[in-house]
Every structure is written in C-alpha cells, then in structure tokens.
C-alpha cells in the first residue's frame, strides 16, 4: 500500500461529507428533488431498446457487502453496469475477512484499485462513516447496522411519488420493528425532508422515542396513504431481550392483513418479507402492494445516486442522459 493518507489516529469526520452518501441527514430537499428527477430521466432511458448509457465509462464502482443482500447488491451492480461503469462485488464470506482481516485493511486494500465509488453494507453502525475516512472514493452507505440506508429511503420516495403523483402531505404509517430498522430511520428523515409525515406503529419495546409520533394501536394505520411494513429483524435482536412475547402474538396484533387495510391504501415493504408474520400473504400479493415497484425504483434511484456523486452537482440531467 502506498499512501495510507488516512487516520494514523487522527480520526475525524471528513470535512466534505457531501462527497459521500452516508445518511439522509446529509441531504437537503433540493438534493432529494434533484436525485428523484435524475432517477426519473433514467427510468425513461430504461424504456429504450438499448438500456446502457455511456455516462460512467471507465469509472469503477466497488460493491462491498458484509451482510447478505439480494435487492441492494443486485440493483447497485446493475445500476453501475447500465451506466457503463466497471463493477466488482466483494462479499465478506469467502474473502480474507474470514481470515480475520479488519474492515480497515480490507478498505485500504480495495482502495488500492482506485475505485470511484465504494458501496458498503456492514452490520455495524458507523461502518460507512469509518470507510469514508479511509478512502478517497465516494462512499455510498448501503446499510450500516441499525443506522442508515439512504438509497432505500430515496427509492421509497420515488415509488410513492410514482404511485400518488406527489410527496408533499402524504401520510405514511411505518409498522413493526422500528428499533432495529435502518430503513425506518432513513425513511422518517426523508419523509420529513419532502413535507410528508410518518407515524410509527408497533409494540412498545420496538418503537424508539424521538423519531416520529408513535402508537401501539394498529387502528392508527387507517389514516395512512401508505402502510410501510417493516421486517421483524430477528437476527439483530439480543437473545432473551423479550421485545415481544412471541411472533404469534406479534402477528395477531400488528400483522398487516387485508382486514386491517382500507380501499386506496398502498402497502410497501423493503424486503425480504416474513409472510405470515408482519405481512399477510394476501396483502403481499395484492394490487395494493408496491413491493415490486420498489425494486424497480431501486435500480433507477441507484443509477441517479452514482451519477450524482460522480458527475458532481446539479447539472442539466436530461441533456446529460440524452433523453428529452
């Protein structure tokens, strides 16, 4: 390794945090609007026969995943490819991580390839901020523990706008395991940023204080335009923590069933779904569900994020992507 350019003990947050996408709190409303508009342009480009754009030719996007992922890793990889960037996906399983290599050394090693963007998913809060201090690459946080997953929030906003034609004034009920959910933390901030509002609904121990108004009563979802269902994250719960007495009791009280929904409501879920626990299979497969739309949005939103980070700043998006 040539230039460790980094820490040596001087761990400080980067001076220019906006080079990265670490948290929704790094974004302004203008940033969000610009990203959603860029995503929209890319969506139009994806309707053409030739879906690949030359925009990021010669750039390198590294996907670094320390946790399992289907949607996020595949959509980042495809997003980079559709923009003609080179991509490489690094998974901790089967790598030197299993030989005990630290995140710092892995990050420095991968940085030696001079990536333009590192997309990182990691089980620990602060991992993306940590890697951002180590590398010259732009870092996109694809999930750091229970903290943040900003591209998920952006794709959720995009999906809502496509479904409702607006974001301002939308009312979203976020149901379930908020405590362990980086998706919920990012989404609440993003909704507030665009003038929508959120209410948290779920069992007492799984609703942290101070994020948004909250209630334990499922009847509160009746007012919502969107019922956003969270996965019960059993893998993040400490053994013996007794967050809920049983999954059966959880499903009975807080499961999203057809009976609890009303006409016109849309249902979203970040996946993967535990059918029969937080969401009834009949809801998941209904026309009310936007789950597949979310996945589709994920591709174009992540294209927009990569584009925005590398072709810095607000530029005339439509002309840059060559769509009218």
């Amino acid at each position: 390794m040539t230039d460790l350019r980094v820490v040596g003990g001087e761990l400080r947050p980067p001076s220019d945090e906006r080079r990265h996408l670490l948290s929704v709190s790094d974004l302004t409303r203008d940033d969000v609007e610009r990203l959603l508009a860029t995503a929209r342009s890319f969506a139009l480009s994806q309707e053409r026969e030739t879906k690949k754009l030359p925009t990021l030719r010669g750039r390198l996007v590294l996907n670094v995943f320390y946790e399992s992922s289907t949607r996020t890793s595949s959509s980042f990889e495809l997003a980079a490819k559709r923009l003609s960037a080179d991509t490489m996906t690094f998974k901790s399983s089967g790598s030197s991580v299993e030989k005990g290599e630290s995140l710092k050394d892995t990050a420095l090693t991968l940085s030696a390839y001079d990536p333009d963007v590192i997309v990182l998913r990691h089980p620990e809060v602060g991992a993306a901020a940590f890697v951002a201090r180590l590398t010259e690459a732009r870092v996109v946080n694809a999930g750091d523990g229970k903290h943040q997953h900003p591209t998920q929030a952006l794709l959720d906003l995009y999906t809502m706008r496509e479904a409702f034609g607006r974001l301002e004034g939308l009312h979203v009920a976020i149901v379930g395991d908020v405590l362990h959910s980086r998706v919920a933390r990012s989404l609440v901030q993003a909704l507030h940023l665009v003038g929508a509002d959120a209410v948290l609904v779920g069992p007492p121990a799984l609703l942290p204080e101070g994020l948004a108004p909250m209630t334990y009563d499922m009847s509160a979802i009746a007012d919502a335009d969107v019922v956003y269902v969270l996965r019960m994250q059993r893998e993040r719960m400490l053994e013996g923590a007794n967050f809920v007495p049983s999954l059966r009791e959880y499903a009975q009280r807080w499961g999203v069933t057809p009976e609890r929904l009303r006409e016109g409501q849309r249902v979203m879920h970040p996946g993967p779904m535990n059918r029969g626990v937080e969401i009834d299979a009949r809801v998941a497969d209904s026309d009310a569900a936007l789950v597949v739309d979310q996945v589709r949005s994920g591709l174009v939103v992540r294209m927009a994020v990569l584009y925005d980070l590398l072709i810095t700043g607000p530029v005339a998006v439509a002309s840059a992507v060559g769509v009218a």
Binding site: V7, G8, G9, E10, L11, R12, P13, S102, L103, K104, H122, E124, V125, G126, A127, A129, F130, D144, G145, K146, H147, Q148, H180, S181, R182, R185, P208, E209, G210, L211, L238, A241
Partner: protein
C-alpha cells in the same frame, strides 16, 4: 500506598502566581525547594545556587492526583506501561495516580501487587498507587483477601470495568473492608439494563440506531451502593458518574450522613451525546456521554463539592481496537495529558467553574477520598506541584502523546492552558 521514586531536587521557582486553594494562598511569590521539600515561600528568595525557573506569568498549583487510571500493565503493555502512563501523568500535571486492577492477570493477589509496586519503583515517573480487585478475577463472586492486599500496599479496591452485580457480595465487601481502612470504588452499572448499549439511551442513540445505555443503568446501582454504604456504615466511592439522577442520589446520601464520594471525568463534564453523531470511536465511553442536563448536573455537583474529585478514567486502546466502526469499538478514551487543558478551556475560560474549584477537584479532593497526602504549597511539604501557563494555546496531536495510545476525544482540538512543569515527590518529572 504509593510506589515510586522520591527526589531531592533543588529548585527556585521565581515569580509565579502561587495558588493553593486549600491553604487560601494566592500571591505572586518565589518558591524555594531544598532537597525536594518546599523550604521557602516569599519574595526575592535566595537562590542558594539552586536551579532557577523563571515563572513570570505562570501559575503554580498543587500537582494533580488521578484516582482512576488504566495502566494496562500487566497484559497490554502495547497500550500502556507503567513508564509511559506515568510519563503521560507527569505531562498532565499529576504527581500521583491510582491504577485500576482490571489487567491481565487481574490484580487480585498480593504477589501480583508486590511485583507491580517493585516495577513502579524502577520505572514510574510519578508515584503510583495500585488498587486491587474487590472480588477474585473481578468475577463478582468471592472476595479477594482484602486484608493481605492492604498489607501488601493496595491503594484501594475496585472491580472497575464491571459492577459488583450481586448486592449481597457488595454488602459483605463493605462490611469486611472495615478492617483495611482503604476505599472501595465502584463502577455502577446494572448490566441487565445496559446490555447491547453503545450510547446514552436518548434521542441521539435512537436516531443513530445505536443500542441504548440508559441513565437508570447507572443510577439504580448508585442508589443500591449508597444504601449499602448507609446500612453498613462504611464509605464508598462512586466512579465516573455520568447521570443527573446519580448526582441527586449522592447529594441525598450526603444530606443523610452517608459516607460516600463521587468522581466525574473531563469528558462527561465537557461533552454530551451530541458528539456521538460524528460516529468517531473516540466519543465512545462507558458510562456513555449523556445529555446537556446531565452535564449541567455534573458541573453543579463539582462546583458545590458533591462530586469532590475529577478523574480521567484514562483508558488507552490500541489503534487496531479503535480503528473500527463506532459500534464495534471498545469503550474508553485517554485523558491524562489533556485533563487540565480540557477543563480549563471548556469550563474555566468561559466562567462556568472557577479555576480554584477545578484545581481543588483535581488534587486535594481525590487525595482526601483515598487517604493520600494532599499536595500542598507549604513549607515542609514535599514538592508536588505543577506550573501552568493559562494563556498558552496548543493543538492536540495524536503524535505528541507520551501515552502509548492516542485514543483521545481531543485530537485536532485547540486548547487553552498548558502544563509547563511538574514536580512529583520532590523531583522534576516533566518540563514542556
């Protein structure tokens, strides 16, 4: 109780503002030290061919006593040694420190204790009091041989790093400790409430998705140990208090005549959990940084003497341990070399605390709690003193620490107030 070299330096410190709050002394004087002992305080003292230190514009104060230092020796000499930790202490203005026994092996028998004291006599830049564990292996079950350990020179007893979980064990420890005359210091943490906690259970942790370490996790145990101290009639010292509820318990206990003391750290006095938003692992401590209301309560308690000691809880960690994401990082930060400057910059310069109060809580306060000789600026006392430049500003750099570790929350910060000279037990041990 302290192990370390004594010295017989001959020095005249000329023209300093000599400030000893306990002695009621605040005057521009010369101080002459003969054979390591203060021999004269006065104007235009004869130098007697002593070395003369021009201290015009500087403040001379009793040197500091830190009752809470992790020297990491034995076991983690890569993080700190007796030599490096005491060099850091000297640079911070300290003339004595107490070392915490949560080492590897734990200091829970007299042989380990004696070997450490012997090493301190060789290596230590300032005298060290070694505390011994309260329970074997700090496992919270069986008492160590408190009597034998006290006879071998234990400076006090603590299982710091972890609580004594069982009230019955704590009660027996307090009762039996009546034979030693040493202080029991407790790390108050109810672990069934703090498990999985990485930051204060509040708004910041909720937003960051960090497991919460609630105030009650500390204050519940504080209340228990104060009640046990009251019931047994034995004194107890509460380490690194962080929550306003804990301070309220301690104040009530004092009003009820319970013999209890408390300490606060510079980081809990200067920072709140807002600092955790940086996700800098050097903002991760146990107990965690709390809210502005907690910080204000700690400052009030330091001001009115409810908290009589400021302790650094100097906790060195290797870069491998701290160069990780916040959630993966161990708790603890260093503090010996920055304590005075941090307190001076954050609390004295803005007028929150008086200089005299801070000097007292760094020196006379902790010395009294642990039964150590009080550093004094008085004729006949050994030279335990520190010379401070209250106007100097300096940038804290990771590369400049005497400590073997640089996990300081202050790296990159500019501080006002600098230790320019320290004498401990009659020796000049630090000169900037």
């Amino acid at each position: 109780m302290l192990a370390g070299r004594t010295g017989a330096d001959n020095v005249v410190i000329r023209g300093a503002r000599v400030l000893d709050p306990v002695e009621g002394l605040d005057a521009m004087l010369d101080v002459r030290i003969d054979n390591g002992v203060i021999a004269g305080l006065g104007l235009e003292l004869d130098t007697n061919e002593h070395r003369v230190i021009d201290a015009a514009g500087l403040t001379l104060a009793p040197a500091f006593v830190d009752p809470h230092v992790h020297l990491r020796t034995p076991g983690r000499e890569d993080e700190e040694t007796i030599a490096s930790g005491t060099a850091a202490a000297a640079a911070g203005g300290y003339c004595a420190i107490l070392a915490i026994p949560n080492t590897d092996p734990v200091v829970d028998d007299a042989d380990v204790l004696r070997s450490l004291r012997a090493r301190a006599l060789e290596e230590a830049h300032v005298p060290v009091g070694f505390m011994a564990a309260l329970t074997k292996g700090q496992a919270g079950a069986e008492l160590t041989e408190l009597g034998a350990l006290a006879d071998a020179g234990a400076a006090g007893f603590t299982d710091d790093g972890r609580p004594v979980a069982a009230a019955g064990v704590m009660r027996r420890a307090l009762q039996y400790n009546a034979i030693t005359g040493r202080m029991i210091a407790v790390h108050c943490e109810e672990q069934s409430l703090t498990r999985g906690g990485h930051a204060h259970a509040g708004q910041v942790a909720a937003e960051l998705g960090l497991g919460g370490w609630p105030s009650l996790g500390e204050s519940l145990m504080v209340a228990r140990d104060l009640d046990l101290a009251g019931e047994t009639g034995q004194p107890v010292h509460l380490m690194h208090l962080s929550a306003r509820e804990s301070v309220e318990h301690l104040r009530r206990a004092h009003a009820g005549g319970i013999r209890a003391s408390g300490e606060a750290t510079p980081h809990h006095l200067c920072l709140t959990d807002e600092a955790v938003r940086t996700l800098d692992p050097n903002m991760k401590m146990n107990p965690p940084l709390r809210t502005e209301a907690d910080r204000a309560a700690l400052i009030d308690a330091v001001r009115d003497g409810t908290i009589a000691a400021i302790a650094t809880d100097h906790a060195p960690h290797s870069p491998e341990e701290k160069d990780v994401p916040f959630e993966a990082a161990p708790f603890g930060v260093t503090g010996l070399e920055t304590a005075f400057a941090a307190l001076h910059t954050s609390l004295v310069v803005p007028g929150v605390l008086r200089l005299e109060t801070v000097l007292d809580r760094l020196s006379a306060g902790p010395a009294a709690i642990f039964g150590l000789e009080r550093p004094r600026l008085a004729v006949g006392s050994p030279a335990n003193l520190t010379l401070l430049d209250l106007n100097a500003t300096w940038l804290v750099k990771a590369s400049h620490f005497r400590s073997r570790s640089a996990n300081s929350w202050l790296v990159g910060q500019r501080l006002q107030g600098r230790v320019t000279l320290t004498m401990a037990a009659g020796r000049v041990v630090h000169e900037a």
